[in-house]
Amino acid sequence: MPLQSRHLLGLDGMTRDDLQLILDTAVSFREVLDRPIKKVPPLQGKTVANMFFENSTRTRLSFELAERRLSADVLGFAATGSSVSKGETLKDTARNIEAMKVDMVVMRHSASGAPHYLSRVIEANVINAGDGSHEHPTQALLDMYTIREKLGRLQGLHVCIVGDIAHSRVARSNIFGLITMGARVTVCGPATMIPRDIEKLGVSVCHHIDEVLPSVDVLNVLRIQLERDAGRLFPSIREYHNYYGITRKRLEKAGRTITVLHPGPINRDVEISADVADGEHSVILQQVLNGVAIRMAVLYLLSTQN
């Protein structure tokens, strides 16, 4: 059963079968990553362009590694110092890259919906590596993979996402994916960071983290954008940390084992304390490894789709 779309733009509307297929396929690639030679040939002769219109070291490296592990030729593109800063439109940039006979495009962009637009104007498969505040599907897939690996299932788990839900593409993709896979999702954060009508997506809303922790299996802690948000969405970093920061004390008070995820990069002792990030319930480094396997699975499944 192939995927239903030839692009991965988001998890909104994706079927349970498709999510399952990606997660299951990633298991095979996860095994490849344990081999002495961590490289397999299925994308030999294919060219993948990584178009990152917004800075991102981790996601770009993870995609690049996944592409190379699949034997693809990799074309890197960063917005800084390129023609984009000279006012070229997304369409022109994309068409130019496609004119070089690129088979797949991985795109990170600051505007929500940019990859949807791209998928309408070029022929290549498009993979969304994060668009504005919309979606970051491979991040949510690797989060779900990591949860499943650790707890054996997704169905019936209670996952709490903490942080700036309004501006988080990680939150949205996780909500869409987790709910489709049968998990229960609570979003938690100050009211200024919870977007309107979010309950209509099937999630519960909570403003006091200590109230929800005693029933939570998994915590997904979002990164706080220090520069942007302090003073507008919450008064100060200190106050955010005191009311929403995930600390060991807070977790111990909850009285149960909670698996902790973070999409990185971490602001230590802001949204998560160092002893939690490095502690026994943190799966943050597994997320990084699984991210490569998930991206390999997505690239592989889309490449055999045309």
């Binding site: 059963m1 995927l3 298991v27 095979s28 490849v32 081999r35 002495p36 397999v40 299925p42």
Partner: protein, 181 residues
């Protein structure tokens, strides 16, 4: 739909053939001391377990058995209409310095074996790789031959050979099918 043309090997023949293959492997390698068994998914995996069990009984030893999913190494992967499902490679032992007995059900063009060899070599550096197949039906497209052959069956290239194994198909048998109609 393909129609059955003839049954080439029945249950008894199947058992005799696997027993013979096991003994040939032991003879050539002077015992089971350095061999590991790797079956190519799907049918080769079950054959590998059969042959391994016979060797283990004869030699009173325990063998390392693994299975190989060659999908990622196929040379027709990107041209296929259907999405090839990954079942995963499962080799939880070291191949370095071992005599690897690679097992598949039917040897035909040789392309599957080429893919399997590439994958094995990415997994380690065996001392030898030896190929055992239940059926060799000819029509090779690559310079590949089997070290152990259960039965040579000359076929036309339009015909097909279907191997049934108890674990999947409920019976052990080898069937020759008419060309597609």
């Amino acid at each position: 739909m393909r129609r059955l043309k003839a049954q080439i090997i029945d249950q008894d023949g199947f058992d005799r053939t696997t027993i013979r293959l096991a003994h040939e492997i032991l003879e050539k390698n002077k015992g089971a001391g350095n061999i590991v068994i790797v079956g190519i998914r799907t049918r080769g995996e079950f054959l590998a377990h059969r042959i391994a069990r016979i060797i283990e009984e004869v030699e009173h030893t325990k063998l390392s058995i693994g299975s190989l999913d060659i999908t990622l190494y196929r040379d027709d992967l990107l041209g296929k209409l259907e999405q090839p499902e990954l079942k995963g490679t499962d080799i939880l032992f070291d191949l370095n310095g071992k005599d690897v007995i690679l097992i598949d059900d039917v040897l035909f063009t040789g392309r599957t074996i080429r893919a399997a060899l590439d994958e094995l070599i990415d997994l380690g550096r065996p001392r030898t790789i030896q190929l055992a197949v239940l059926i060799d039906r000819g029509h090779r497209q690559l310079p590949i031959r089997a070290d152990y052959v259960g039965k040579n069956i000359p076929t036309s290239s339009q015909e097909s050979i279907r191997v049934h194994v108890r674990e999947v198909d409920g019976e052990d048998a080898v069937l020759l099918m008419h060309p597609e109609e």
